[in-house]
Amino acid sequence: MSDVVTITIDGVEIKAEKGQKILDAATKAGIYIPTLCNFEGVKPKGSCRICSVLVNGRPMTACTTPVSEGMVIENDTEYLNDLRKAIVEIMFVEGNHMCPVCERSGNCELQALAYRYLMMVPRFPYLFPTRDIDASHPKLIKDHDRCILCKRCIRAIQDENGKNFFAFKRRGYKVTINIDPSISEKMTDELAQKAMDVCPVGALIRKEKGYDVPIGKRKYDKVRIGNDIENKAKKEGVV
């Protein structure tokens, strides 16, 4: 049996390794599929659904679905892009995302996706839920207003024994991220920085540090999210 399978994304045939996820195969081929809860190096979770593609006509998350021979995948279509825009809009209305006062603004992946999909205004009513800011941790501020519950911090931040620093607390709409108090003392500055970098929004902010990059030079100020994947492929002549 061969280890290489052929799949079709938006009419373009690409080769992928067996067992590879659709997202990784597409990224390698220079096709951008938007992601939010996914993070390189951690096990995909499929919780935000923004990477949804149509596999043989059925919606699947590209970050968790492995490729198989002859898959026909729709990605950059009007229907799917509107669905993705709707997901971004839902995230904006169900939290308190005050872009003008957020430290993460300009480097925020949620905001960058809103820019990419030209979100002028969410189609859903704003909820303005009551949530807390927790600044009790010595190195990190948790702003639950901005948390989109992607579980990136839970999956990516661990101590040397593989123990998680973060966990979900409570259930349903009351769920929040929490830092384990027994080991949180051990969090190094590097780990705190990593936690902030891992967070796609501004829910984890480092204390005594911030606003390092001036407006206009931040990550997504001039570059559309996903452009790096598309441009890299163009340069290497993959597409």
Binding site: F92, N96, M98, C99, P100, V101, C102, S105, G106, Q111, A114, Y115, L118, M120, V121, P122, P125, Y126, F128, P129, T130, R131, D145, I215, G216, D221, K222, R224
Partner: protein, 192 residues
């Protein structure tokens, strides 16, 4: 053909969006050729004197007067535009929405704040003439129908200009990536 009539107002905003509108600099001369202004802080006309074509709203609704003005705009304008983050999502005034009740907010402003020194009788303003504060700050499109939204804090003058010209001339609008921003004015882009 008569010129399109434009009205503008600032509700719960900081007038930054109006400042940005003035940032179109000398193009304001072209704008006056293109449109006629009615009720607006720019020409200081206080009430509508005729039916308008375009109404530009800055800021969300934080009190009863804002709602009244906004409904008045809807009645008198064919097209309403939400200009800037406050009109679109409540903006900075909406930061009281999720954590601070109206009571707490007023007490902080008039009684408890360290800078309050003269209010010896401990009065929170309650004259019936004063507009009532709403329970929270509402985005404009949750009060009346809004036709177009221009994001930015404040939106760049070029963006407002392009949007107005596109609306008045009916030509499609050019929306470069650098200009649609939620937290600042965007950066200058290379015009084609």
């Amino acid at each position: 053909m008569s010129k399109p009539v434009v009205a503008t107002t600032s509700l719960a905003g900081c007038f930054g969006c109006h400042m940005s509108l003035l940032d179109i600099d000398e193009r304001i001369l072209d704008l006056v050729q293109l449109v006629e202004f009615n009720k607006s802080p720019i020409d200081d006309i206080k009430t509508f004197t005729k039916q308008c074509d375009i109404g530009i709203i800055e800021g969300g609704c934080c009190n009863s007067e804002n709602v009244h003005v906004l409904k008045d705009f809807r009645k008198n304008c064919k097209i309403l535009i939400s200009l800037g983050e406050c009109a679109i999502m409540g903006g900075l005034p909406a930061m009281r929405n999720n954590r601070v009740s109206v009571e707490e907010c007023l007490k902080e402003a008039y009684l408890n704040c360290p800078s309050v020194t003269a209010n010896e009788e401990q009065i929170i303003p309650n004259d019936p003439e004063l507009p009532m504060m709403l329970n929270k700050v509402y985005p404009c499109h949750e009060i009346v129908k809004i036709d177009y939204h221009i994001p930015g804090c404040a939106p760049r003058a070029d963006l407002i200009w392009e949007a107005l010209v596109a609306l008045v001339t009916g030509k499609p609008m050019n929306l470069p990536y650098e200009i649609i921003k939620f937290d600042y004015r965007g950066t200058k882009w290379q015009k084609k």
